[in-house]
Symmetry: C2
Subunit: 382 residues, 2 copies
């Protein structure tokens, strides 16, 4: 295998809770069966002690690294996963699964409801970040792994990492929570709700039963456009687009359109081809209702946990502002956890967790080595 390249990978799937078994959700309802799409990179060692679970954000999937046969675009975190990279596949066995509720191979609203044979649609039960993590635990069991060396992700991936630590403290030796929050602020909820309203306002949504037609394409595109604004920073948009006009582009009023408008249109419409609107509704709701502490003070929820934490925030990320990461770390310290906080001075906004590779690589590589050696990590605070 070449240095830095994983090569061609395949998405596999794992199904559990086959009838008559069921998978019980936090809302009290059950699913049966449940499938998770997943990929793995590297090799599980004999002690099964080198496994790292990568957790994706809202629109991510199991394809975190490497290339699918015949495709030119690598997985969504390929810069970070591979031989010699932050998550070094020469040393670690890396797993990534599409979340429960997703639409990229895992059971979600677009999956067939066994009781009708038709897609669940809005009859899919309410799911939580805790349910996503519980489903992943079944996959980890299936892979024969008792204890994960680390769980790691950005944005909603960071929520899942934190949830793993609190829900299954005996199964996780460390967690890397990037550009995330222990619970959504009303502003974060509000941006998600605008996206949901745009989807549900589209007559193509049909109360979620749109799978025999094109679906709420325009509404989902609008939702994604809102998202993209929040993923960038004022400054990164200025640097990328300025007030440049698009040659030949015309808006309704007959004027040239701005480059930034064209970018949003492109991003909105390309998203529609790869994402299910109902998954967007369910997953954003799961994020909004996520509350790691479940109403308690956060440090109480973290008490007695032995996992080491690396918490990373980005200075220009206004969707998941650094103060939310700082709150997590303060609670960790109060609860006696070994937690490291790093604030990276990026201009890329929330997108930084996907693009600021060198700094994250440095931090994560050293953090993981320390975790593997059982050493304290706090010396790496910068």
């Amino acid at each position: 295998m070449n240095e830095g390249r994983i090569g061609v990978v395949e998405t596999r799937s794992f199904t559990f809770a086959r009838p008559p078994d069921t998978f019980r959700l936090e809302c009290g309802e059950t699913l049966s069966p449940v499938t998770l799409a997943y990929e793995t990179y590297g090799h599980l060692n004999a002690q099964k002690s080198n496994a790292i679970l990568i957790l994706h954000a809202l629109s991510g999937d199991a394809h975190a690294a490497g290339f699918h046969e015949g495709e030119e675009k690598p997985g969504w975190w390929d810069e970070m996963i591979g031989p010699g990279k932050a998550f070094d596949t020469r040393t670690y066995f890396v797993i990534c699964s599409n979340v429960l509720g997703g639409c990229r191979g895992s059971t979600g609203p677009s999956s067939p409801d066994p009781s009708t044979g038709r897609p669940y649609g809005a009859r899919f039960p309410f799911i939580t970040i805790g349910d996503m993590v519980a489903a992943q635990r079944n996959l980890v069991d299936h892979l024969g792994i008792d204890s994960l060396l680390s769980v790691a992700g950005g944005s909603m991936g960071g929520m899942q990492a934190l949830q793993w630590v609190v829900k299954y403290p005996e199964r996780v030796r460390s967690a890397i929570a990037i550009a995330t929050a222990a619970r959504h602020s009303p502003q974060q909820i509000a941006f998600n709700e605008v996206g949901r309203q745009a989807i549900m306002a589209d007559p193509g949504w049909k109360d979620g039963d749109y799978y025999d037609g094109p679906g709420p394409e325009k509404g989902l595109a609008v939702a994604r456009m809102v998202g993209h604004i929040t993923y960038m920073s004022d400054r990164s948009m200025e640097e990328k687009f300025g007030r440049r006009l698009r040659e030949g582009g015309r808006c309704a009023g007959g004027r040239n359109i701005f480059e930034v408008e064209n970018y949003l249109h492109y991003r909105g419409h390309s998203f529609v081809r790869r994402f299910d609107a109902n998954s967007y509704l369910y997953i954003t709701k799961a994020m909004d209702h996520f509350d790691l502490a479940r109403g308690r003070p956060l440090w109480e929820a973290l008490r007695g946990i032995h996992a080491k934490l690396l918490v990373i925030a980005f200075r220009s990320d206004w969707l998941y502002p650094a103060y939310q990461s700082q709150e997590i770390v303060r609670a960790c310290k109060r609860a006696g956890l070994d937690a490291t906080y790093c604030e990276i001075d990026s201009t890329y906004g929330h997108d930084a967790f996907l693009v600021e590779t060198p700094q994250q690589t440095h931090l994560i590589r050293h953090f993981l080595r320390k975790v593997q050696c059982g050493q304290t990590t706090e010396a790496y605070e910068i």
Copy 2:
């Protein structure tokens, strides 16, 4: 008249460019006739030297102060306009008109096109902030006023104030530009574009010809929801809503809805009853294409101007960040203008210009007195 109360007011209208005359727009097209809805408060003095033109933001109208007969809600800037208030109607003659392109009595896309007798819809010509100001100049002429003591407004109102100074420097003695910008950043354009896309995605929009039906109600509501998030700050949302759930409210997934979601729904739907979707499209486009300097360095556009400027920004306003106001003031200083910059430490975000009454009152009252006396204003910089 009671201290602090204007009492009952009426919106009047002024029509100009009646056929065969026309009103030429910056895009080269013409309108005929043009009507502006306006209100006035206080009395024009014998020298006609005490007139102040108030300029409204995106969704404002001519009803800036006082009460309409039988209504309980006062005008949108009633806290700032009246006897003893910032714009003291015992001293000043205050005028406010609904902008060209608006839907509250002034000529706009919902007005009848004389050539067809039906509403213009998307056949309404492209309008600019310069066109809005040129239309207002006709109203000011009609009122017999050669020179305005001041032009003042927040957000898009601030853009118009700045445009007045540059377009008609001999007609304006001072300008008060609040929470505004000399041109939109790509982030500001992007938020507006999301609103426009939401409207145009609604099949009720019908390419703008919806006046015989309900129109794009859901799309316009979504546009307004996006707007409301940008008008508040992260902190003001936290203080107002936190993560409180609405009793009895249920979302599609069967969960309680958050108070902040309920607030957005309410704001979105109430906006639909009072605003025209096509006006939203045209006015936001005018804002996005506004560039006070028209591509030149800003200070060059301001050279030779004698109007005094008061520029106010709010620290938590992330839609029109303070750096945009600072750019205006820096350009003024370089161009030799008498400009005062004040940054108010509010938590209300962009909404602050509508709610931070005492501090703005203090600043504006003293600024206007100095302008009236012909004194330099710079001593009032804080």
